[in-house]
Amino acid sequence: MSILVGQDTRIVVQGITGKQGTFHSMQMLEYGSNIVAGVTPGRGGVKFNEAVPVFDAVETAVRELGANTSIIFVPAPGAADAVLEAAASGITLVICITEGVPAMDMIGVLSYLRGSNVRLIGPNCPGAISPASLCRVGIMPSEIHTPGRVGVVSRSGTLTYEAVNALTQFGIGQSTCVGIGGDPLVGTSFVDVLTMFEDDDETEAIVLIGEIGGNSEQEAAAFIKSGGVSKPIVSLIAGQSAPPRKRMGHAGAIVTGKSGTAEEKIRALSEAGTTIAPSVESLGEVMKQVLRGSTA
């Protein structure tokens, strides 16, 4: 087993005929992901890559082809609507890649999803990949991933790729890698993913990659400290050199109070018993040591 995505995942790509949607759908198909349908309103009836049916609405993909997971490449103005459509159509996992979704839209979406059985990952995230089942629902480069027993969860995209690359180079494979997104308002938190990794038989250790801004790393630390996670965790926080009050790319990566600084996050995660990696390159080596320690 992996978490979130795996062999039972039946993907519908929302915005499959757009530039990003087309590129990554091809990549996902090449990797082996089970894309059952695409959706582009107004383009229903065509075939993507001469094989994948494209519909006007998500509900058709759910009803006719049993889609259960959606990945969204719809441009920002329509992204909230795409999430709501997926949720209203019976999709239970929605992965929103789109960057730049207005905060007010996300407030509505998150309020709507609360109490439903629909999980949203993102927006502004790289998605999730479970190498053992060759299931990639995201935009990460496939080739750096290798099956294994370390779960990776991160707020960042390329930094996660570096981290995975570092693990793979040290011969450490991954159960599932999840990017939860760089926006302040996201559907799934560190704590949510940590809970899933804790419950996952195939995950033995966890890499947590945080960054400045907000306090989701502190929430994660508190959760770990309270016994929520028994598996070993290696953590890394980006942005130690970032100045205050400046948005470092991600909408969420801005230090506004003391709790948003890298120092505070590192302190909290260290106090919670996680091992702090000094750099992304060191992750492979640090994890190797941690795994050796936990086995001993």
């Binding site: 530039k19 990003q20 590129f23 990554h24 920002a76 103005p77 960057e99 730049g100 979704v101 207005p102 905060a103 007010m104 996300m106 407030i107 998150l110 309020s111 935009i139 990460m140 480069p141 750096i144 991160s154 707020r155 960042s156 995209g157 390329t158 930094l159 996660t160 790729y161 570096e162 690359n165 760089g182 302040p184 308002l185 990659i209 960054e211 400045i212 907000g214 306090n215 989701s216 980006a238 942005g239 130690q240 050199s241 970032a242 100045p243 009050r245 400046k246 948005r247 470092m248 790319g249 991600h250 909408a251 969420g252 990566a253 109070g257 890298a262 000094p278 750099s279 992304v280 390159e281």
Partner: protein, 386 residues
Amino acid sequence: MKLHEYQAKSILASYGMPVPRSGVATTPQEARDVARHVGTPAFVKAQVHAGGRGKGGGIKLIESAEQAEDVAASMLGSRLISPQTSLTGAPISIVLVEESLDIEYELYLGIVIDAIAQAPVVIASKAGGMEIEEIALEHPGLILREVVQPTVGFRAYQGRRLAHAMGLPSNLANPVADQMMRLYKAFVDKDCSLVEINPLVITKSGQVMVLDAKMTIDDDAAFRQPDMPSLRDWTQEDILEAKAGQAGLAYVKLDGDVGCLVNGAGLAMATMDAIKASGCFPANFLDVGGGAEPIRVAEAMGIILADPQVKRVLINVFGGIARCDDIAEGIVRSYLDSGKELPLVVRFLGTNKDEGIRILKEAKPDTIFVDYISEATKVLQDITIQ
């Protein structure tokens, strides 16, 4: 994007929030005329995108229209330096001349989007006039919060609750709550990420007034806020940051001399961290983004090279959506344009790495290629030593 005080007040006034009599001026003569119209004593207030204006000499009481002219003359065209501006300050090209009021209460009122509550939160404090960070440090108990339920919006009872908790007399609860509801409506309609009224005052005659206002619009909502571009004042931003912003690039100017171009915000931060950990200093944060076309990379590189503080450059790209050859082409283009001979350290990984290296080698043979970030920082240190 941030709005000026006078712009924010004009928006809030359109939502029925009372503001003092005032007018803007871009010349000393205009300031004098406005002061005559508004009446004296009055305040001349520098319009800059930064807090702490009072401490920086950006708010001055004047007793006559002539004095308004003098004060405006000294402000306009100068730069205001406050604890919240950069060291070089923010340029003053507009002043607001505003009537002086007899104040009974000075309150703080703000709305932000709270990531934990996943909702807007209305913040109020009776310690108005102080910066919210100061209140948080010195009187954390005086900061009051009401989380908004998106389904029903901010409600009158929440406003009254805040008014009572601030210790206002009962008869002010309804009028203050009413202002809060208007502010919330403006916040939602205009897709704000922050509004602050500091202070919201209650005059001796019992009138509620917006004395100072800050408003920040969610850049991501620009597509549905057609009025916003015309309200943007790029002159208030660092010239390179403004240029990057107009090109849609995430760029932050820093004080070091290592120019960095990275794809991905997290990786860019991690790269800066590594540079700093090695004893060097990054000149900037720059995330060239996912689908980096050559022209976009060239623009990004141009911004880095335009920074006179930059003495060496590090490229760190993990190719995925972004292709290393595209990146290389963009870099070559801007290096040629700039005519600069700055040392270049490049780490390429992933999509089309070899092709990227080939392009760069050909165009700039002295480029140093590395495989690891740690190797890159070591090379950068060596360059310093030279």
